[in-house]
Every structure is written in C-alpha cells, then in structure tokens.
Subunit: 442 residues, 2 copies
C-alpha cells in the first residue's frame, strides 16, 4: 500500500500559479487541483492529447513530455502521457502519478523553476480551455454502477416495493451492477430521448414508444488504475492503490422503461442509451485535504465482514449539485435552477469498499474501468439526486423559473451537474461540469 | 439488409477438401464450416494471428493475405485479416465476410484453383490444430447476457420465487443484463472457485468464504459485426447484418453468492469472476442450412410488439451438450458424463430479437461485442443446461461414473460443452469445445 496520507507542497493553500485565472478563489482548477483529461484543439482533427486543467487553461502534457519539461518524471510515464487516452498512464500507479503531479505543479507554480520554459512555448503548450474540445479521458473497458446511497435506495425501494424498501443485503455489501461502457459520452453531448418498451398501469399490454419518464441521476465515478489479476481479490489495505481519481457521472435513466424491464436481472435498456461524464479526472492526491473517515455506521447496523472493514480513511467530502435549465430559460437568459445539493459523505459505502467488493469473487479490473457510486442522495429533500425522488415519482412536480412544471425531463431541458470540495484552510478543488441537453425522440 | 438466404458452392454437402481430416464425417470443421479464430504457435510469443479451422488443422489467414492467396478479396479485408483480433474484420460486414469465406473455401477445396499454392507453403501456413494455442477471437468491448430460455426462466424462477416464477415482462421482451467483459476467458483456462459473500439460511449474518454452490450455464453467444450509431435502434430487417457468428459460452455462476446479492439490481459478483468461450466463431454463412423460422409462440402467448416481429427466419437448430468429468474419472480413464443435450431451437427469443431489443433504446453495439443467450434449457429433464436445474437446487444429486455424487461442481471437475448442427443432406457443422477445470479456492 502506498500511503495515501501524503501531503506535499503541491497541496499548500498559499501556492499560487503564474496563470492568473488559476488564482481566482472561485475557480475549480487552482494549482492545487491539476486534474487530468484528454482534448484536441477544437475544430481540428488533431490526435487527442492528455492535458491538465489549470484556471481557464489546459496544459498539453504530450508537449511537456516531448519538450523535456517533466524533468524528474521517468521515461515510462512520459511515454504514457503521449498516448491518446489516460489508460497507459493509469496503469502505472501512484508513484508515477505523484511524480507527474509534482512536475506539473512546478511548471505552473509562480515560483517554479521551469516557468519560463512553458511561457516561451506560449499557446502551443498552454491553450485556453475554450479552445479545447474535451474528449473521454480513457478507453473505458468495463463500467460498473453501484447503489451506495442508503437514502436513494430507501426512497426508490419504497416506491417500487412499499412493503420492502431496503433489501436484506443492503447493509452487508455495496450492491452494484454492470453497466454499458460503449454508450458513455463526454459532457456536452446531447442525449436523445429514447424509445423503449413500457407497460402503463391499467393497460392490456406494453407499447414501444418515446420514453415519458426521462430522468438523470447525480453520481460520482472513479477511474481504476493498475489492474488486479483475475482470481485475485483486492483487499481494503491496497484498494486506494487502484483508484486514480474521480469525475461527475450522469446516469440518464428512463424510469418507465426501467420499471417494466428491471426484474429479475436489473436495469438494462433503461440505462444503456447514454451515460455522461465530466471531462476532468480529479486525482486522490488533489482530494487529500478532503479525505475523512467516511460514513459512520449506525448503532443498529450489522457488523461489517472483515474484507470490507476500513483500514484507512477513504471517505471524501465532495459537494455535488444538479441544475436544470429549460430551453425557454436559456432563451430568456435565466440562470439554471439548482435542484439539489448533496455530498458524497452521505453515502453508506466508500469507493474503497465498492472496489474491494467488486473484486471479492476475483473479478479483474483494468486501467480505465469506471466505477460509479449510484445516485447521491442525502436525508433532506434538497439533497435528492434525481427527479424520481425530488418529485416523488412525479406526484409533486417542481416549478421552474419560466413558470413550467417538471415531473420528469422535457425535451430541450439541460441537466448540469457540478461538484467541488471547499473548507477553511484548504484550496477549493472543483470537478468542472457534466452537462447534457435532452433532444426530442425521433 | 443483405439477404441471409444465400447458399453458394461453399455449402455444397459433396464439397471435399484436400485435407483428409476435414472429410471425416465426424469432424466439427469440414470445408462447409470454416469458423474464424485467433491463435499463435503454441509455446511461442508469436504475435496472434487470425485463422480458420479446417479438419485437424488451422489455416493462417494473415499468411494467406500476405502471400496474396485471397485473390478476389478486397485489400481492406486482407488488411483486417492481418490484425491480432477479429474486430476490424467484424466491422467490415457481410459482403467482406462472404468474399473471404469463398476465397478460403477455394484454397482448401480438393478441386480448388489455388490448392497447390497453399500446399507449397506447408506448415508455415497450415498448422496442426494441436500445435496452435487458441486465444480470444476478439477484443470484447461489452458483454451482454440474456435469459432467453423460457424453461430455464420458469425453473429458476420457481426456485427463487415459487409464487411468481415467470415475471410479467418475460413474454414481451428478451430479458437481459450487462455482464463483465474483462473476465471472459478462452476454453481451457482453469477457473478458480471464487470466494464471495453468502448468507446461509438460518444464519444470523452473512460470511465471506469459498463458494459452495458453483455451477456452469450452457449458453451460446454471438459476436457483433458492424456497429450501430448511438441513438439509432437496429430493426428486425437488418439485425442479421450485425451478427457475424456464434460460439459456445459457459457462464460460470456462484449460486450461493447470486442468491444473496441479486436483488434488486441483478447478478454481479456471482458471475463476474469468469466466463469461458469456445475459440472458433461459426459464421451465419456456415449455419445457413440450419436456419429456420425460430420459436413458435404459443396460442396463449401475448402478441409481439412490432419492433420485435420477425421479418426473416432467424432461428438456428444447434444442438448443445454439457459433459462433466471429475479428476478421478480422468485419472481412471473414464469418459466424461453427458449431463444434458438441448437445442437453441428451444429458446423463446431469437438472436435477432435479442440484438434488436438491446438497441431498442439506442444502445450502440460495437464490432466484437458478445451477446449470449442465457442458459439453454428445454422442457425435458435431459435438456437442462445447468446443475441448478438438473439437480433441482441440489435436492436431487447426480451420480457420476466414479461413484461420487454432485449437487454442484467439485474442485477438479472439468465442464466440457459441445455444440453442433447435423441433418440429412447437409454437412455437419460443429463448434468445437468449451472447457474449463475448477481449481480449489485459495
């Protein structure tokens, strides 16, 4: 196990960048963050490149590597940083990630030794973020979605199974299921309202037609680093070695399709038409100041089996928000409406427990795999991470600033998700945005 | 839609190969079959190559392409056949698959025009199958498993939900779920008994320990050819254009783990430790003589929604068998015991309906994706495709030739699956074998 409790000068709240926008106290991407992503110059066919977000800019790591600017970084990570996805870099593990972070921090620091080398290369190495088209950060081999919010599981369970909302296994293992990797898209990709098979109550048979109950789910996802061998479960002591960092996930859900199809084998077509992720992967290194003990199990909760017992703190206090903006609101210049604000700290299971349980029968994870938390909902109404819960299955519609009501998503609606960490005495660490506009069925 | 009802001289039952072993009436791989796979010379680090099985041999298609032996095949398929997996070739679609099949048939035919060119290259282009190490035929991006046998669904349902064995959606849509792509392994790979979390009846809490109820599931899987765009469902008329061919699938299942974890989101760790597939992909072209109208819906069955209504015959009459051999049986030279013999014709849904429903909400399939049928069980006891059904959850153990009994799999047991098509007036088309030995938990 590499010790996660590792803070160095890259975390120092007083550290400033020579890039002004990175010193804005409101920025998601100060020099203490340095999230990784993949981009190309917008409007070109350029080969995708790995970059780091800094203030309003993107630092081109491929260029940094070829210009010899990552001095202390070994040749292997430098080579991995010249790939078109993060997969090779993810495979290298924490020592390489930390060395790269330190080198990038030095390049961007106001007091850094190589600041002038970057400045000399100008826009060819440091783009404006607005000039970058952001792409999926990794080739996602397998995608898994968990169900780690006990509040979400209880709310949804009480709608679908009033007598039996929380199933007996829930407090013993992080329930999860395999999702669809091919339909994961990057923030900004429009999502077309799907057709699908549904069975309306009181009807004699199902119909195939446009989804009527389209929903989002506000989640976080984490990218897997080094693989484990098939047949070799990962233990809690080394779980964090396999976790590179986190991004925002919108697990679009067709509720009417889901309700009809999901038994007995789980969600399938109701989820596999699109899953949107935010482009910047925020590393566990950047999140170190926000790490904590994680969820406290209640006195009435059953004891945890040993293989899931925490051996280091693996909770992260990340605030997550969902906003909605109708087409009319955008046309009339209204601000998006915040629908919820929750926190990853409200989850019943940590990301380490999810990863460990995933491998508990020997499943092999690979660099670039994405594991998502499931909808992040807390106890309070304002913390509920999907419309199904917020409108209680449509029974209590929301009113938008344009005067219209919403039980579920309308065509033209844009869902915007944000996530960030902030507290006194530490730099704000943000995740950027995860956006998607609903196109009409066709 | 390319017309599937296409028979040409490559199907002619009287066609003979100049390779003697291909003319054995018992062979799985006569010249009418020509299944595709990926191999390397056993015991070497050779770059994987695409090959075709013929009798007891493997024809090296990379070598055929570079030697200019695939005369009438366009440059693009020739290039795709030099790759290390079938994915690029799968992406090309039926016209390229057919042209390649015709060219290979000509090379191997006793009366073929280029027979001497192949013979001149000897073992450098035509290996003994025993000298080839077989590899996964494709890079499987996503793996999906269906539940298409109504007999299996009813049997299993009646064990887990006695009051409610067959759920209301079953006859309206092919129920399926996303599986784990990373843990798919090739026939012959040993499978270690997994550890996992289980809850025994009458116990106060769950335990984490070796699986006690390890099972196999006898299935067929099919490989996807050309992709569909995300958001664009595939219709029944063009479904076959997206299907390259079939292989045998063993969906290893940890029943005790499955029972505890599967609600509400479906099987997860109980299935993701290993799935074994047979190495040779038998094309729809080779199976053409065995194509039929597919399952007949009963008079009491509800009408099918239009998007799932057959527009061409997409049933395949493939016999599937499962055999078991204990370590003692192997040590004492006993033959494996046949546990079941069923047929794909007994399924409630066709592979075309599975593919169409999978894309019904717009899910994008990609070349190399694997879709499996779920356990193939018929009505009769002898056709049941897993031990859970054969021993009725362990209540009626089987007796093996070595005198021992089996409710579920023991360490050292080898599961062997075979599949083949045969009838008067057509060549036998076989799938080879799908094998795996159970190693003890450790």
């Amino acid at each position: 196990m590499t010790n996660l409790a590792h803070t160095d000068s890259t975390h120092e709240p007083s550290l400033r960048s020579w890039i002004d926008s990175a010193n804005d106290p409101e920025t998601d991407f100060p020099i203490q963050n340095l999230p990784f992503g993949v981009f190309r110059v917008a409007g070109t066919d350029q080969r995708p490149r790995i970059g780091v977000a800094i203030g309003e800019c993107v630092l081109d790591l491929h260029r940094c590597a070829t210009e010899g600017l990552l001095g202390s970084v070994e040749p292997e990570p430098c080579c991995a940083l010249s790939a078109t996805t993060l997969n090779d870099f993810l495979a290298l593990g924490r020592p390489a990630w930390r060395a790269t972070r330190a080198a990038v921090s030095d390049l961007l620091s106001a007091s850094g030794s190589r600041r002038s080398d970057v400045q000399a290369l100008g826009e060819s190495i440091l783009l404006k973020r607005a000039d970058a088209e952001l792409l999926l950060p990794a080739r996602i081999g397998d995608y898994t979605d968990f169900y780690a919010s006990i509040h979400h599981a209880t709310n949804v369970g009480s709608m679908f199974r009033p007598q039996n909302p929380l199933l007996p296994n829930y407090k013993h293992l992080p329930v999860g299921y395999h999702g669809r990797a091919s339909s994961i898209v990057i923030s900004g990709t429009p999502v077309r309202r799907p057709y699908g098979q549904t069975m309306a109550e009181g009807q004699p048979g199902p119909v195939y037609g446009p989804c009527r109950l389209l929903d989002y789910e506000l989640e976080m996802g984490f990218f897997v680093g080094p693989a484990n061998q098939r047949g070799r479960p990962v233990g809690m002591a080394t779980a964090s070695d396999h976790i590179f960092g986190l991004a925002i996930v919108n697990d679009w859900s067709a509720r009417d399709i889901q309700k009809w199809e999901y038994q007995p084998l789980g969600p399938f077509c109701a989820k596999n038409f699109a899953t949107t992720i935010s482009p910047w992967v925020v590393t566990l290194e950047a999140l170190e100041p926000y790490r904590n003990a994680g969820p406290r199990r209640g006195d009435d909760d059953p004891p945890l089996l040993e293989y899931l017992q925490p051996v280091q703190e693996m909770g992260y206090d990340i605030t997550v928000e969902a906003y909605l903006s109708s087409k009319r609101m955008r046309d009339e210049g209204m601000q998006p409406l915040r629908l919820s604000r929750g926190t990853l700290a409200d989850m019943y299971w940590t990301i380490a427990q999810m990863l460990v349980h995933h491998t508990s029968t020997g499943c092999n994870l690979a660099p670039g795999d994405l594991l998502a938390t499931g909808t992040i909902s807390g106890k309070a109404q304002t913390t509920r991470g999907c419309l199904l819960e917020l409108t209680w299955r449509g029974e209590k519609p929301l009113t938008l600033p344009d005067g219209t009501k919403r039980s579920f998503l309308d065509d033209g609606d844009e869902v915007i998700m944000r996530a960030w960490c902030h507290r006194e005495g530490a730099a704000r660490i943000g995740f950027g945005e995860c956006r998607g506009i609903v196109l009409p069925a066709e």
